[in-house]
Symmetry: C2
Subunit: 553 residues, 2 copies
C-alpha cells in the first residue's frame, strides 16, 4: 500500500509514524514544501526570547536527535521529500504531482492520500504591508528574521497587531528581549477566547509589565521608507521599527479546493470522525482540517498541535482498519503571560448565551494552595453552567496560580458532561502544597450550586460599574476589616466589617438595593444571608469581590 502525505510539520509525521507501526508492506512518502520537518511551531515565541537556545531543539526528539530526512528513513522507515511542493492531484489516477528543488516534476501514485497542509498566517492588505521588518510568526524562518533584528537593535519599538494567543506570547518574548511593546487589538479586548472581565485582568497585568494594550483600535497603514517606522491606527500613530502581524491563521486548502474536496463553513477541509474527507481514500488532519465542537455539535476551527497529534493517530487507525473516532474539541486553550497563566475551555459566557443557555456564572478568586503556605498563589477562576441541566459549560482561569490544573479538570468534566453537583464532590487529590482543602474548582462549583438553588444572587463587577456610571442609587457595602479597607478600597462604599454587621443593621436602608462584597465575596455572601434574614429584600453579592474588580478604584 502506498501512502502519500502532504505536509511534514506536525500531523503529517504523526500519521506516517503510526501507519508504519500498524501495517506491514507499506510505502509512505511525506511531501514537505519547506526545509524543516516535525518542528514545534508553538515553540517559536520561546526561541525568539532565547528560552529555547537553538533552532534544532524545536525539531529534535526528547533525547536530542534532529528529525530530518535521514532520521525518518532510518528510524521510522518513512521517505521524506522536503523542499518539495505538491502541485496537482489526480483523484481518478490516484497520483500526486510534486515539484522538487531543482524544478523537476515527479508523479507519486497513492492508495491513500493525507492532507496535512497546515495553516498560514492571515495578513490583510493593509497599506505599507510590504515594508521591511513587518512579519508574521508561523515558520522557523520568520523567527530567524525577527531574532536577527532584535540582536542588532536593543530596545526596539515593537507593535504586535492582534492580541490573540500568538500575539500575547510574542509580546512577552519582546519584553524579555528589552523591547518597548504595544499590542493593537481591533476587538474590545485581547484574548477574545476569554470573557471580557477575565481578559481585562490580563490587560491590566500587561500594563503593569509596561506593555501598552490598545483595544478597539484598527491599524490603517504602515509608514516608512524601506522599512517600517510607524503604525498608523484610527486612534493615533505608534513608533515601531518591528511589527508582528498576529491576527490569526487560516487553513491551507488550495489543493483541496482544486480537487473539489468539501470545504466546511469554517473554510477548513470537512472531515468525518475517522478524519476522512468527502473523497474516499483522502484524509485531512491538523490545522487544515475542520473540527467538531463537542458542546455545540457545530463545526469550529481551533488549530492546535495537541489536536493535530490526536487526529493523526485516528487517521492512521482508520487507514489501517482499526476503528477509531476523533470526538472533537472543547476549544481548550492556554498561554503563559509572564508569571500569569491564562486558560479556558468549553463555552465562554457570551458563547453560552449566544447558544441559548440559561447561563449561571461565578467568579472565584482564591489561593491555589493551602493559604498558609508561602508558595500559595492567587488564581482567578470563572465557571459557566447551565441552570436547567446544572451541567458545566465552560471554565476560564487567570493569574499566577496553577490555572492549567483547574482547566484540565474542567476539560475532563466537560468531556463527561458532568453537572456542577458532580464536579463539587469529586475526590481531587489534596495536600497543602497542591490545593486548598476545597480545591478552587470545587469552591467555584459550589458557588454556582448556591446561585442555581437561589441561596445567593450574584452581580458582576462589570454590572456594578455600569450601575455606578448610570448613577443608580444603591448601597455599596464593603464588609472587610478596617485594615483591609485601608490597603485598597472602592469609591462610595459603606464599610461595616462582617463581625459587626448583625449589631449595626440599623445603619442600612432596607428600601435601597444593596450590593455587598469583601475580598473574594465569601464574607460578602455571608453578609447577604444576614441581611436577607433581617428582612432586606434586594441584596446582591458582587462576584469575585474587590480582587476581581478590574476598574479604577
Amino acid at each position: 500500500m502506498k501512502i502519500v502525505i502532504i505536509g511534514g510539520v506536525a500531523a503529517g509525521p504523526k500519521v506516517a509514524a503510526r501507519i508504519e507501526r500498524l501495517c506491514e508492506d507499506i510505502d509512505i512518502t511525506i511531501v514537505e514544501r519547506g526545509e524543516f520537518l516535525s518542528y514545534a511551531g508553538c515553540g517559536l515565541p520561546y526561541y525568539i526570547s532565547g528560552v529555547v537556545k537553538e533552532q534544532k531543539e524545536l525539531m529534535s526528539t526528547p533525547v536530542g536527535t534532529v528529525r530530518d530526512s535521514v532520521f525518518f528513513q532510518n528510524v521510522k522507515n518513512i521517505k521524506v521529500l522536503n523542499h518539495t511542493e505538491a502541485t496537482a492531484i489526480n483523484k481518478i489516477e490516484k497520483t500526486v504531482t510534486v515539484k522538487q528543488p531543482n524544478g523537476s516534476e515527479h508523479i507519486l501514485p497513492y492508495d491513500k492520500l493525507i492532507f496535512a497542509t497546515g495553516a498560514e498566517a492571515v495578513c490583510p492588505p493593509i497599506p505599507g504591508r510590504e515594508l521591511e521588518n513587518i512579519f508574521t510568526l508561523k515558520t522557523v524562518n520568520d523567527a530567524e528574521h525577527i531574532k536577527k533584528i532584535l540582536a542588532k537593535n536593543k530596545a526596539t519599538d515593537t507593535v504586535i497587531v492582534g492580541g490573540g494567543l500568538i500575539g500575547v506570547e510574542v509580546a512577552e518574548a519582546f519584553v524579555e528581549m528589552g523591547c518597548r511593546v504595544t499590542i493593537v487589538e481591533l476587538l474590545p479586548g485581547i484574548l477574545s477566547m476569554m470573557d471580557k472581565e477575565m481578559s481585562q485582568l490580563v490587560e491590566n497585568y500587561f500594563e503593569s509589565k509596561g506593555v501598552k494594550v490598545l483595544t478597539n483600535t484598527k491599524v490603517i497603514e504602515f509608514e516608512g521608507s524601506s522599512s517600517v517606522k510607524k503604525v498608523i491606527t484610527d486612534k493615533g500613530e505608534i513608533t515601531a521599527t518591528l511589527v508582528v502581524m498576529a491576527i490569526g491563521v487560516r487553513p491551507n486548502t488550495k489543493l483541496a479546493k482544486e480537487i473539489g474536496l468539501k470545504i466546511g463553513s469554517t473554510s477548513a477541509i470537512a472531515v468525518d470522525k475517522g478524519m476522512q474527507t468527502s473523497e474516499k481514500d483522502i484524509f485531512a488532519v491538523g490545522d487544515c482540517a475542520e473540527k467538531n465542537n463537542i458542546l455545540t455539535a457545530k463545526p469550529c476551527y481551533v488549530p492546535l498541535g495537541s489536536t493535530a497529534n490526536k487526529e493523526g493517530r485516528v487517521a492512521a487507525n482508520t487507514i489501517c482498519g482499526i476503528k477509531d473516532e476523533f470526538p472533537g474539541v472543547l476549544g481548550s486553550a492556554i498561554c503563559k503571560v509572564f508569571d500569569y497563566s491564562v486558560g479556558r475551555t468549553g463555552l465562554s459566557e457570551s458563547e453560552a448565551r449566544k447558544h441559548g443557555y440559561d447561563v449561571v456564572t461565578c467568579l472565584s478568586p482564591s489561593p491555589d494552595k493551602a493559604h498558609f503556605l508561602p508558595s500559595a498563589k492567587l488564581l482567578f477562576l470563572k465557571l459557566i453552567a447551565d441552570k436547567k441541566t446544572r451541567k458545566l459549560l465552560g471554565a476560564q482561569a487567570v493569574g499566577p496560580g496553577s490555572a492549567d490544573k483547574r482547566i484540565d479538570v474542567a476539560v475532563t468534566a466537560l468531556s463527561a458532561g458532568m453537572t456542577v453537583d458532580q464536579l463539587a464532590n469529586i475526590d481531587l487529590s489534596y495536600a497543602p502544597p497542591y490545593s486548598p482543602a476545597m480545591d478552587n474548582i470545587i469552591t467555584a462549583a459550589n458557588i454556582i450550586r448556591n446561585k442555581i438553588d437561589g441561596l445567593m444572587e450574584g452581580i458582576t463587577p462589570t454590572e456594578v460599574y455600569a450601575m455606578k456610571q448610570k448613577n443608580i442609587d444603591f448601597t455599596f457595602l464593603d464588609v472587610r476589616s478596617p485594615s483591609e479597607i485601608e490597603e485598597r478600597s472602592l469609591q462610595s462604599t459603606v464599610n461595616i466589617p462582617l463581625g459587626l454587621l448583625r449589631k449595626r443593621l440599623n445603619e442600612l436602608d432596607k428600601n435601597k438595593p444593596i450590593v455587598v462584597f469583601c475580598k473574594i465575596s465569601l464574607r460578602g455572601y455571608e453578609a447577604a444571608l444576614i441581611l436577607k434574614k433581617a428582612g432586606f429584600s434586594d441584596v446582591k453579592v458582587m462576584d469575585g469581590g474587590i480582587l476581581m474588580w478590574p476598574f479604577e478604584n
Copy 2:
C-alpha cells in the same frame, strides 16, 4: 432548632457554618475538647519545618483572622465551647452532657447531633513507648513539643516509625531542620498506597537526600533512661533522640459506640449518603466517619481534610432539607517529598488484581512540559485499566514534574467512568509551558490502548529483574544511541541503536525471547514492531525504559 456538634477542627465548623447560612432561627453549639478550632492539621509538617512561621497561620482565614470562639460568635453566629468534652449522650432525651475546664457539667439539648470527633494517632504498645521525645503528630501541641526539641538540638538523630503520608512529610521537615533521618517501615515499601515499582522511586529519591529508608523492618523496643536514645528493630538498632510514630490514625468512636451507633467494617462510624448515622437525627462527618469507595462500592477509611469539608456541606444540606448526597471517594492522595510529588487515585495495580479485574498497566516517564523548554521536568506516570471494559481504574504519578495535574485529570475521568479511549482524546489545554503536545496522561492512555489491542506486549522492570535473578536466557536489547548508553547502561544488554536495527537484525537470535527498551521505551516499542515484522515471535517491551528501572544497573 438546636444543633450540637462534637468536634471543632475541620468537618464540625464546616457543618456549622453551612447550616447557619441555610437556616433561620437556628442555635448551633460546637463542643471541642482541645483549645484550637478549625485548624489545618495537614499543615503541621510545614509548621515543624518553619515553612509556616506561626502557629496562628494554621488557624486563620485567608485574610488572617484567627478562627477563635469570638470569631465564630461574631462572624458565624455559632457558639463554641472549647476545652470542653462531650462525656455522654442521651438519645431518648436528645441531650449531650459536656464537662467544662472548671469541671462543671452541663446538659445541651439537641434536635440534630453531629459527630465530628475526628481521628487519633495509632500508637501500638511497643516497650519503651512511654519514654520522653517519642511523639505522634496529630495536634498543634505535638508540633510545638517537636519544634522545641529541634530548636535546642541541631543535627538531631530522628527516627520516623511508619512511611505513610505523614511519615514522609515529617521526614522532609526533619531533613530541612538539619536532622539525620531514618524511616522504619514494617511493609515491603513506604507509601503503601502506591504500587511497589512507584514507591521504590520515592525510596531511591529519599536515599539520595540522605534519608535512610528501612523497609520490612519492625520496631521491637525503644531504649533510653528518661528520654529515648535508641530504636531497636528486628534488623538492628538505630540511634535516635527524637521519634515520631506515624503509623496511621483511627477514628474516634468511643461516644458513638456507647450510644450504639452502627460502626462499619473499617471501625469508623457507618453513614448513609446524606451523612446520617444508623440513628435518625445523628450525623457523622470527617475523620470519624466511614467512606464509600466509588470504584469498589465497598466501605473504606481514607481520612482527609478535603473529604471532611465536602461531607460537612452534605450533612448541613441534609439537615436543612436540601437533597444532597456524598458519592464517596476514590482514595486520591498526594504528598510532596522535597522536589518530588507523589500522587495516586483509584485502584492500585495490586488492589485492582485483588478485585478480580483483568488488569492492564503502563509505566510512562516523560517530561511534563514541551521537552524543548528548560522548565520541563520528568514525571513518572502509571495507569491501571480494565482490559474487558477498557475503563481506567487508577493512576499513580511520581517525580519532579507536575503530578497533581495528571492525578486530578485521572480523578475526574474515574469519577465519570471514562475508558482509556475517551481519556486519550480529551481536549486538554496545550501550550509548551504546560504540557507536551500529547499530554503525559494521553500518551499513557494510548500505551494502554496499544496493549489492549495487542499491538504491544509489555513487561515491567520488576519482572525483568526477576528473570535476570533466575538466570532465564533472553536477549536484553537496548536500542538507545551509544552516547546514551555511555551515560548509563544496564548489565548484560545487546546494544543496537533503533536507526540501525533493520540493517543489523541478523545479529539477533530469533529463537530467544527478547526484552527491548530505550530511555522511556517509545523507541523500544518501535523496535519491537520492527522485530515482529521480521519474524521474531517472543518480543516484549520493558515498560518505562531505563528511566523507570529502579534497581542497581
